[in-house]
């Protein structure tokens, strides 16, 4: 004998109540998930969004883009800057050498880079990381970049590491959108407006030379270096990769890089690898230079040497 089923009650059933509860929770969760959008302020204009890849910009397009960046910098940072797009010079391939016997690890190069390249102030960002290494070892894993005592310390040597401008750059190979490439003068550059910030290149670089802009760079207007390059030291947007460009806004105009000028001991040698009479060629021909992680086949154009 089965019990007779109770007839459905009028009004709200238990089932209806659960449906309603589920729908309310679902809507609340959806609203919560979308909440960040209400705080989102587009600091990217429509022109920014629709801009073509650097290599596809015509001269006129590029001029418009540079002017727009200057205007945006004025609006966002209150600084008057000049953004240029210097081209590689024919017959020039840049090379850099660093004398580890002379470097004392004062980080003046990193400071100069910080200022020259309009790095984010709070993070002390710079393209150069100076490793304090123990004499007799070249194990980069054991290098300490955070030393804070008078230098040079006993039984230590100092190894500044920045982008090695590899001839076979793994960072370029992994970029899914071709936002980074190697220029004819040897500089690996990033189109900050094309970069999607996936950070593959950061992971691919064996020298830890690439940096990510976790936040919008904060720089007081008075400290902004107004001489800027599209591919180098203009203020980067949030969420893109950046890297050392051998100060191409300087070096493509014949000047020495900022880190070299700042070096108080003269440990750095910069020049044109294609000029047989250049200082860098003299170093390569007369000093026992080595490159970092040669076994990876990246062919760095940054050389280290010790005085004999």
């Amino acid at each position: 004998m089965s019990q007779p089923t109770t007839p459905p009650a009028e009004g709200i059933t238990r089932r209806d109540m659960f449906k309603g509860l589920g729908a309310t929770l679902g809507l609340a969760a959806y609203a919560k998930a979308l909440a960040p959008l209400t705080e989102w302020k587009p600091f990217e204009s429509v022109e920014d969004f629709l801009q073509k890849h650097y290599s596809e910009l015509s001269a006129v397009d590029l001029e418009v883009v540079l002017k727009r960046i200057e205007k945006d910098t004025k609006k966002q940072y209150g600084a008057d800057v000049q953004v240029s797009a210097d081209r590689p010079q024919p017959g020039v391939k840049f090379g850099y050498a660093l004398n580890l016997s002379i470097c004392i690890g004062c980080r003046k190069c990193a400071e100069a880079c910080h200022k020259e390249n309009n790095h984010d102030r709070p993070s002390h960002q710079s393209y150069i990381r100076v490793l304090e290494m123990s004499n007799g070892s070249l194990d980069l894993e054991k290098g300490n970049a955070h030393y804070d005592h008078p230098v040079p310390a006993k039984d230590k040597f100092y190894m500044p590491i920045q982008c090695q401008q590899c001839d076979h750059p793994p960072c370029v190979d992994v970029c899914p959108v071709e936002a980074t490439w190697k220029e004819p003068d040897g500089i690996v550059v990033v189109d900050y407006n094309w970069c999607i910030g996936c950070r593959y290149c950061e992971a691919a670089c064996p020298y830890h030379a690439r940096r990510f802009n976790w936040s919008k760079p904060q720089i007081p207007a008075a400290e902004i270096n107004p001489v800027q390059g599209y591919l180098s030291n203009r203020i980067r947007p949030q969420g893109v990769m950046e890297k050392c460009t051998f100060c191409l806004h300087r070096t493509r105009n014949g000047k020495l890089p900022a880190c070299l000028e700042a070096c108080p001991t003269g440990a750095r040698v910069f020049g044109n690898l294609l000029d047989p009479d250049s200082e860098i060629r003299w170093v390569l021909q007369n000093k026992r230079v080595f490159v970092l992680k040669e076994e990876l086949g990246t062919k760095p154009q940054f050389f280290y040497f010790f005085d004999a």
């Binding site: 004398n99 008078p150 990510f212 014949g254 000028e261 001991t265 910069f270 009479d277």
Partner: protein, 241 residues
């Protein structure tokens, strides 16, 4: 053969000039050549002229020691200026004159009447003046570099005097490898242009960075360490949480 050394004053001066342009360099060298090497020199000049006639980028075949070789380029090169000491140092007497300016005297003012002592190594051995001068420069004594017959100049190892402004000639006598590196742009700080066809360059001299009495580069307080997320050491990051 002191004339053949790269560190002798003539060669230094010739080199300093040669940094700015090629023509001076050639004239200078030819005038120094002895008659026995005349024919070789003429042949070299002819070879250079011949090379240029074929519009080839050729270097002078025999670079004199200490010269910075440069690409033969049509564009005039900007000069490389080597900072030099203004002249002999002046010693502050610690007194001020009627106008409130510090009174300084030349070295020779006192040394004209004092007897030179070739055996003095450090200021600690003196009972007056130069007290507290930190000295740490090998086994040299004062008169190894200071000229006992004229204290407003310096003294080369062979006894010739050399101006304070030409101090690099003096340093280069012993520190030949550093001078060689310097002459090839691989030692010493510089500012300006790597490309001399586009702008000039300024270079430090030895004593801009090295105290001649205690030449070891001093300890320095490093600039701020990086604080980017990825490079914060594990221990420090853990301590912050």
């Amino acid at each position: 053969m002191p004339q053949e050394l790269s560190i002798n004053p003539q060669a230094m001066r010739g080199w300093n000039r040669a940094v700015g342009g090629g023509s001076v360099r050639h004239r200078n060298r030819v005038s120094k050549l002895s008659t026995t090497t005349w024919t070789v020199a003429v042949a070299a000049v002819v070879a250079v002229a011949g090379g240029m006639a074929f519009a080839q980028k050729s270097k002078a075949p025999a670079q004199a020691a200490g010269e910075i070789p440069r690409v033969a380029s049509a564009a005039p090169l900007h000069p490389v200026t080597i900072q030099r000491p203004a002249g002999p140092p002046r010693v502050n007497t610690g007194t001020t004159n009627f106008h409130g300016q510090a009174v300084t005297v030349a070295c020779g003012t006192c040394h004209a009447t004092t007897q030179p002592n070739a055996r003095t190594h450090t200021s600690a051995e003196l009972d007056q003046f130069h007290q507290g001068l930190k000295y740490a420069h090998g086994e040299l004594n004062c008169l190894s570099c200071h000229n006992a017959t004229n204290y407003d100049t310096l003294r080369l190892a062979d006894g010739r005097s050399v101006e304070f402004a030409d101090v690099m000639t003096l340093c280069g006598q012993c520190h030949g490898s550093q001078l060689r590196d310097y002459q090839h742009g691989a030692h010493g700080g510089m500012t300006g242009y790597w490309d001399l066809s586009r702008g000039p360059r300024t270079r430090n001299n030895c004593v801009n960075c090295h105290d001649p009495h205690s030449p070891k580069y001093p300890l320095a307080r490093p600039v701020f360490p990086p604080r980017d997320r990825i490079s914060v050491p594990v221990k420090a990051a853990a301590a912050n949480h």
